[in-house]
């Protein structure tokens, strides 16, 4: 399986994603934001970081990068595109997934482990996973997912919610919501479920010695589903 990780100016989880993808069997290429064409890929990842410093609006500048034309075409033709953290913010800015990401409710950057509940397993990302609750890691300042009531209804009707914040037992009460996201939403699909944007970082959970191994479960399952 071939994957591509896009490096924007200010990306800083691009290497971590490269390490994780290679560890679980992807042949990964790093792609520069100013390139015209994506290399042949089965999966494209927009990594975390602070593209363009997040100075204008998180993800806004990066969503207009040269390479994004190619990424958008790839997504529209059904290719798998995953945006993590800043990558999710970029996806939102391209319109590939609905909604916006506001500043965290308590106006502070949060770095910690969180539990997430899978809301939809009918897709390449989460199909065949034994677990319904995974422990991932978040590190962001603008992860407060928001959309209009109408949009929310549409998202729910189309089963576009990918993951919710929850506790270790999968309860999705407000108290387990770290950033104020509407409906505890931690990740969203496009209608076709080939594009996934999520705030948590699976790539930081790929080693017993790091925060945990649920990221390993995710990546192993993903590559198997893609075969």
């Amino acid at each position: 399986m071939k994957s591509s990780v896009i490096t924007f100016p200010g990306s800083n989880c691009d290497r971590d994603m490269d390490v994780a993808l290679n560890k679980f069997g992807f042949k990964n290429k790093m792609v520069w934001h100013d390139d015209n064409e994506l290399p042949k890929s089965d999966l494209v990842v927009l990594p975390g970081g602070f593209s363009y410093g997040d100075y204008l609006r998180c993800g806004s500048m990066a969503s207009k990068s040269k390479i994004m034309h190619s990424v958008i075409n790839f997504a529209k033709s059904g290719g798998l595109v995953m945006g993590i953290c800043n990558g999710f913010q970029i996806l939102v800015e391209t319109g590939l997934v609905p909604g916006v990401l506001l500043r965290n409710k308590y106006l502070e950057f949060i770095c910690k482990n969180v539990f997430i509940k899978l809301a939809n397993k009918e897709n390449t990302y989460f199909k065949n996973l034994d677990k319904d609750v995974l422990e991932f890691h978040i590190a962001h300042n603008e992860g407060n997912y928001f959309c209009s009531i109408d949009q929310l209804k549409e998202i729910e009707d189309n089963n576009q919610i990918a993951i919710h914040y929850c506790d270790d037992k999968g309860q999705t009460e407000e108290q387990f919501n770290p950033n104020g996201s509407i409906r505890n939403i931690a990740g969203i699909f496009n209608k076709e479920k080939n594009v996934l944007g999520m705030m948590p970082h699976p790539e930081r959970m790929v080693d017993q010695s790091l925060s945990g191994e649920d990221g390993s479960i995710f990546f192993k399952n993903l590559i198997n589903n893609m075969k």
Partner: protein, 730 residues
Amino acid sequence: MLVNEKVAIEHGLKTDEYKKICELLKRVPNLTELGIFSAMWNEHCSYKSSRLHLKKLPTKGKKVIQGPGENAGVIDIEDGDAIVFKIESHNHPSFIEPYQGAATGVGGIMRDVFTMGARPIANLNSIHFGSTQHKKTKNLLRGVVHGIGGYGNCMGVPTIAGQTSFDRSYNGNILVNAMTLGLVKKNRIFYSKAAGLNKPVIYVGSKTGRDGIHGASMASASFDEKIEEKKPTVQVGDPFTEKLLLEACLELMAGDSIIAIQDMGAAGLTSSSIEMASKGNLGIEINLNKVPCRETKMTPYEIMLSESQERMLIVLENGKEDSAKKIFDKWNLDFSIIGKTTDSKNIELFFDNKQVANIPVNTLVENSPMYDRKWKKAKAPKKNKFKKEVYNELKVQDVLRKILSNPNICSKEWIWQQYDHTVMGDTIQKPGGDSGVVRVHGTNKAVAASVDSSAVYCWAHPLTGGKQIVAESWRNLISVGATPIAITNCLNFGSPENEDNMGEFVECVQGIGEASSYLDFPVVSGNVSFYNQTKEVGIKPTPSIGGVGLIKDYKKMMTMDFKEIDNLVLVIGKTEGHIDQSIFARTILDEKNGPPPEVNLFNEKNNGKSLLDLIEKGLVKSAHDISLGGLIVALSKMCIKGNKGIELNKPKNMINEIEYLFAEDQGRYIIEINPKNLKEVKKILTDNSIYHQELGVIIDKEMIINKKTKVTIDELKSYNTNWLTEYMSY
């Protein structure tokens, strides 16, 4: 403007210093030249009050590749790898403008590290605020934490450890010390020594603006009521540009075009160009019209003294200009050839085709003033005699609750949760442990780092305090299973012109020197911050020590959380019952006088090395050093982290229960071992003549002390974890 003595004094120079400048130049300097002298001769850049004493610190060792004098220190961690690290203060700007002050402190120290070719892999910080009751404290704390996070998070470098304290003496002068570790191949280290004639001098990075003009001079003076006027001297940080600068520099460094490189930190273009020329024994010629400026009509004076951030100066090999420029173009950064190296041994500045400054480099560096300031030796404080009846009236649980929720002991999670501590995917010990630990990417090695200070001990007896912080740093590294290698120090003091403050400095440095020499734990880099004082009142002497150690096999790293029920808990090192200057004495008994605990360097070394040996042999399940708050605080933290309890029985010896639990005697560790290894562990400790005692057994979720006091782990947690969050929620 005509230069005279009055103008010189306005620049922070003393009358005799101004006279010396005129003598050295054999003429009156023009304004630009005066500005340059004032920037190079201020305390911050010249170390004029501290140089004499810093020379006495041990700076050499088998593992030391580069000691003080470069942008940062460098140590060998084997297999061709090296760690570049340094700690630096950004105290004055952080008080004036906490967000930008702290942010640019972090940015500055990271630049010092990547200037040497190393990719930053970990950040740490030591931050100190006034009383929690003081009206400015909350805002300063919030601003500083946001600033540190804002810069470090954006750079994608994990902040893995730190230290925070509150004390009235910082009411008017907070401390913000930032430390960075970087990883580099031993044969790819870059230095700041220029070499060769007519080599192009290149300016890269952000444009120069009017921010931070005279920042270093501001940091070399005390505060008074006009402090608000100093806001324009605080630099403004742009972490995004620094991230680009980091990547661009590392890309350029992969080739062989750089002769010397130096970041523009304190005193900006002035100090960077002069340091490179001085180290290379060369002259340097700069056309200031070529310096990329952010604002219009900047004068030579402003350009030379701006402390705009995210800028570097590079001396390149001839003919490499185009290939180097391509890299900076790719990263959208300014790249300008602004001058060349010369054999004049002068710094010559041109602007609008006119020479605007011409100063012999050596007058700015070697001939800078050095003072042997007067200092007073501190008296040894008298020990207090505490009455046993006072102890008898106290309930252990009440005392424990108060101490665990004391601002200086409580969990700092509210702070470190705002720092990205896991980016780069190698953080294997997060903040909240004895040291932060990151793996050396792609290897089995890991590097541990800790930052420590004990202002109260240093204030009570500077010599002992100085030794104690080095010992504590050493213990914090050992507790995670790391072999201590070297330290960096950030020496925060009041005015050197005050004999008491100067005495604190001299004796703390002596203590640091003695301990680091005995423990073979040399000082490889550092920074001095004087004038942390408002009017006549200085801070408590607060040297911070950043220690770095190596874990050869990261799988053997140790943590402090209790692991398994029925395991045994031992204490290594003797508890004498030293209560003076402990958190207990200061907060429960309200007794602020008395000597700090003694530091026995022989025991420190022996106990530490033996514990490392036990860890290496796989005999230890968890370990934690005993520091602030004493034995029971250390045990509480191990219980909280492991979510397990302990049945603790004070060994039968003379001292009182309260003294046993809350004394802050040095050189002690708590370890957890499997009962089947007890004999072997005891044999090793006995063979090494190490005092140790069995404390008790790990049980489920309750702490039972001498059969009388019972506290659940949930209660311990609530004592310890809630205070700061509640304090910071409006």
